[in-house]
């Protein structure tokens, strides 16, 4: 009786029935599935639309760049177009302005801000922060277009590697920057980005202020020393030597240490300030806004490229630049063999400060101030790096609004064809 009675059927009948049932059911179910998914997707989108419908968003990681964005915000306010300005600085000057159409929001610092940005829903996001898709800041699925605006007119390659690779568009201030971007794109096999020559809003504003405040103090020459900080900065390297040399020129000397020096190099500053206290000839300047001091200075000695270009191009004044030894390693610039525009231009628009020349500093200053050649070079540099002087904010606003129109119509077309196909 036992054993060897295991005679399993294969159940082919049942199988056939099941296949028939599921086969028929499959297409019904799939249709249902598609419908449910469609409903969920579009239904959610609809509620989202009521919830939040940002067309234009700006993000800045620091209040420092308010000077870049203020003109743009002002332009939107003027046109009555709503814009959301998101900042990682709690005390961003934006909050002090009374806008009707600009919605200023503090979204936290660092990763906290990225959490918000990574799930942001907006048509366009404009930012001067690099590192999208490189650091913790990822592209949000619900942002259609990422636009980068640099906060300087210098080389666009002076970002840490890959910093602007994942933006859809870059707003440049000079045509030479486009070449740099295209070269990098080619090298890295990236799709080509949209590049729009707009200019630089903060330079425009600066220029406006300069034009409105024509300095009348032309009797005595003022020499501004505006160093950066760190071991290779002017004050660290030359310290009292250069101050002594400058005092010997007889000109009015203004020293404006980098704000960071008061934090990290307090000892050095204290020593120098004790040795060279404020006097009629020497002034230690710590103004919050550097406009006034720049405005009343005749020449600048600096190792800090940003402020050099502000001074040279917006104020159209001569400069003496310290040895700005520069390590390209971390930057996109490292990928390109060409000499950086910044350094090439520096050597054209000013003299390099060298210790052996301290004896004839007065001679160098005088020559720089009255040199026609330097003036011409400054004009050339301005031409190369600063397009659309005075109207960049306007152009940016035009571009953003037009872009939004394009994106919206493309979106609606897409959903229309989807509807038809379904």
């Amino acid at each position: 009786m036992h054993s060897a009675y295991i005679d399993p059927g294969t159940g082919s009948m049942l199988f056939t029935v099941l296949v028939g049932v599921f086969g028929a059911g499959f297409f019904v179910l799939r249709k249902l599935f598609v419908r449910v998914v469609f409903y969920l997707k579009n239904g959610r989108k609809a509620t989202m639309a009521i919830d939040e419908c940002i067309k234009y968003a700006i993000y800045t990681d620091s209040k420092r760049y308010w000077n870049v964005f203020e003109p743009i915000c002002d332009e939107f306010e003027k046109r009555g177009v709503s814009l959301v300005y998101m900042t990682s600085s709690k005390d961003d000057p934006a909050f002090l302005k009374k806008y009707n159409h600009i919605d200023c929001r503090f979204i936290g610092e660092g990763n906290k801000a990225f959490v918000t940005l990574n799930v942001l829903k907006a048509t366009i996001l404009l930012s001067s922060t690099p590192g999208l898709e490189v650091y913790q800041w990822k592209r949000s699925k619900d942002v259609d277009y990422y636009i980068h605006i640099p906060h300087a007119i210098s080389d666009i390659t002076l970002y840490h590697m890959f910093g602007i690779d994942y933006f859809d568009a870059i707003l440049i201030s000079g045509e030479y920057q486009e070449k740099q971007i295209r070269k990098l794109e080619k090298m890295r096999g990236l799709p080509s980005k949209e590049i729009i020559l707009v200019g630089q809003p903060y330079m425009d504003t600066l220029k406006q202020r300069v034009d409105a405040n024509v300095s009348d103090n032309n009797d005595t020459l003022s020499v501004l020393v505006a160093p950066s900080w760190g071991s290779s900065s002017i004050l660290n390297r030359y310290g009292s030597k250069i101050i002594n040399a400058l005092l010997l020129t007889g000109y009015h000397i203004i020293i404006r240490p980098h704000p960071q020096s008061f934090v990290s190099e307090k000892e050095l500053l204290n020593k120098l300030m004790l040795e060279f206290p404020d006097s009629e000839q020497l002034e230690w300047n710590t103004d919050n806004d550097n406009f006034d001091v720049l405005n009343r200075s005749s020449i600048m000695i600096s190792d800090f490229s940003g402020v050099i270009f502000d001074f040279a191009l917006a104020f159209d004044k001569p400069i003496i630049y310290a040895d700005t030894s520069f390590d390209k390693a971390p930057y996109d610039a490292c990928w390109l063999d060409d000499k950086l525009w910044t350094f090439e231009t520096l050597s054209n628009i000013g003299v390099q400060l060298k210790e052996k020349d301290f004896d004839r500093l007065k001679e160098i200053i005088d020559k720089s101030i009255f040199s026609e050649e330097y003036k011409n070079c400054r004009d050339k540099a301005r031409q190369e790096s600063w397009a659309n002087i005075g109207c960049s904010a306007n152009i940016i606003a035009d571009y953003l609004i037009e872009k939004n129109g394009d994106l919206s119509s493309a979106e609606s077309k897409k959903s229309q064809t989807e509807n038809i196909s379904k």
């Binding site: 009786m1 036992h2 054993s3 490189v134 990236l190």
Partner: protein, 868 residues
Amino acid sequence: MQEEVRDQEKSLEPWVSHIKKTFSGNERMMILSTYYRQRGYKPIYALKGSFSLLLEIPFFIAAYSFLSGLEIMNGVSFGPIANLGAPDGLITLFGISINLLPILMTIINVIAAAIYLKGFPLKSKIQMYGIAVIFLVLLYYSPAGLVFYWTLNNVFSLVKNIFYKLNNPGKVIKICLSIVGLFLLIFGIVRPFNSISRQLIILATGFVLLIPIALSLLKKRSIKKIKIFQISDATKTDTLIFIICCTFLTVLTGILIPSSVINSSTAEFISSQNTVSPIWFIVSAFLYAAGLFFIWFSIFYYLASPKIKKIICCIVFILSIAFLIDYMFFGTNYGNLSNVLVYDIEPEITNIDILFNSAIVLIVSVLCVLAMKKTKIVKGLCLVLCIAIVCMSTINIVGIANNIQEINTNENSNLKSSNPIISLSSKGKNVVILMMDKAASVFVPYLLSEKPQLKRQFEGFTYYPNTLSSGGNTLVGLPEVFGGYEYTPDKINKRTDIPLSQKHNEALKVLPAIFSNKGYNVTIGNPSFAGYTYSMDLSIFSDIKNARVYKTDKKLSTGFDNIDKKISSDIKYSQFRNFFEFSIFKSSPVIFQNQIYSSGNYNSSHTMNKAISTQVTSGLCKARGITEEYLNSYSVMVNLKTITKINNTKKNSFNIMCNDLTHSPLLLQTPDYLPELEVDNSNYDKEPLLKKADNIKQDLKITKTEQIKYYHVNMETFLLLGDWFDYLRDNHIYNNTRIILVSDHGTPTGFDQYKYGDNRYEDASTYNPILLVKDFDSKGFNTDYQFMTNADVPTLAFNNIVKHPKNPYTGQPINNAEKSKMKNMNTYMSNPQPDKNTGNTFEFTNKSTVIINKDLLNPKHWKKISIK
């Protein structure tokens, strides 16, 4: 693959090191991963480089565990190596024996590495040489066979590395392959083969090997014009199809097939010895299947290029459909399985089967390839198939769970089972009915001729060769043995208002109830299907006075106790291992099935050496192993004397005992027909095996393993019974004991002289049970050719001691008057299991009719009757 990755890494290296130098901390990680992303390099590719090494590890472990424990290597010499099963020790220096092979292996390994590593950084070199040293240490004391294998492996990689340094390795490979292919083709055509499948495989392999060179000989362009060679890259849908098909294969082979086997007779996978729930066998099979189809397939898919992915996807799709068709529609008539997944008769696969199946598989494959053009439809189809088999698997598993619960309930109600006993009175009268399941009457004359002492031991018996059972299996054949003519299959089906289970239980109880009423001590052992279940529900006898009921489920010692333990562990091993193998066997194309089944061994290295739960035979004379079911039945028969309890009162006794020894075919050691782990009868039985009988012209020409195995267990049964009869004689209780030796049905022995149809059961010996009766004080050994049926048993049992017996359940008189009224009798087969025969009537699968009062064994007297 490794090289590809290395090249890529090489090209990335300058910027990677620049980034590593320039940045630190998190920024370094993020910049680096951006760089990798831009260059389309995934850091996991670094793993890809070591992947080929990782891939080797499981194979190495498998080879290691296979070869290091392989007993057949023990003591086997190969060339200068004296023993493949031990370290070679080829060189002896200053009395220290040094193993040469591992050293040789390492040298080859180092050369291979040196060739391969030309121009690679030092780091990789150290890695490779390090691995060579590790292998030297690992394998130094390993068996020479294993080291030899690994050495050859290294030689292969050496050759491979040299290959890659050639200018045109592809061409060389193609030429080499074509030479081998050509050789195989010639070999396949010229050499005579006894198996067509082997020949086909060799020819097909040869043909396939010739394809690459044929393709390159045709101009590449013209090939590209042929649509089928335009392989597109795998899309997301393809990957989805791949995943669905892998799931399908996993569920089919890992769950569906094992669960339908277990569900078809859960009880057989639960024994008192085996505490493991059969669900675990499914889990085990599932893990095997998932390991193969999910993990391994996925690894290769993941590593493949998009075009190869497309091909893999197509192959997996073909596999799924082919497996399904093979499983559903082929090999469905292989017969019954044992609980270690061995067929009771080796499946006969004919060349026609192979050719037909191969053609179908080929057609299906072509259709599948064409279907892959419409991947969306394929995806849908695969999904539907997948869901269907998941549903079926669920149904099976729920069924199994229910069965287990039912069996447990029965087990609990059965705890009262007494110890096995045959109770005999020395002063009163004893009636003993021994029901030897499946005992074949056709063997009896030959048994008696081969062992003449049997006639002396069976003194007093009358042998009825012309006995018919109306059922071809226990379920339909047994009731009439104990219930008489009211319980023939025809009669059972006529009482349509009563459930089969009730009629079966009634039949079992008729004799005990009547004898008990007459004041007999009643003992019932192993009443088949009591309670209409496998596990025997003894409680059905609770209303019979003075009845002792028992089951002998391995309660007795066989003298093979250590084997018993080994067997149950071995069964467990087989069940855990072989379910997956069985699935593969069932779902593979017929051409491969014999190879996979390998006589129930499923290509296990284990079974050959250790496993004894199945008997693996080679030819008709040699075998290895003992089955558990045999031991269970044998334990009772070999202990007949021990369990015989003689009481000196005058109280009469009635005994029923059922036993399966004759149902447990096994090759025994001749001439004494004793069970042995290792049987070799080549000195005693010369092939061709002919068994002769006095008075019968026709010899039994034994050609099949099953025939000799059944002959042996029948012989053993008679020998053991003969011993027991001697014991009864010695104790003076032989003459006062009526012994009825009967079986519920015969055996489909497969001898040509008894066959009246093509079906295996259309064989007169199937319906020819043994019937030998010894009455009180009878003398001599007689053969009576009168027509008998096993429904005569109650009449024979009551003869002269119970007057006018009446069936207590139907009120009908019990006699054999019916027999004289009939000219023909019908015989039936049904599904053999109670749980497949629920309801009030049997559904028969075979029906025949035989003219009674004539020689039953003559096929001319038989007629098949088709079933409506």
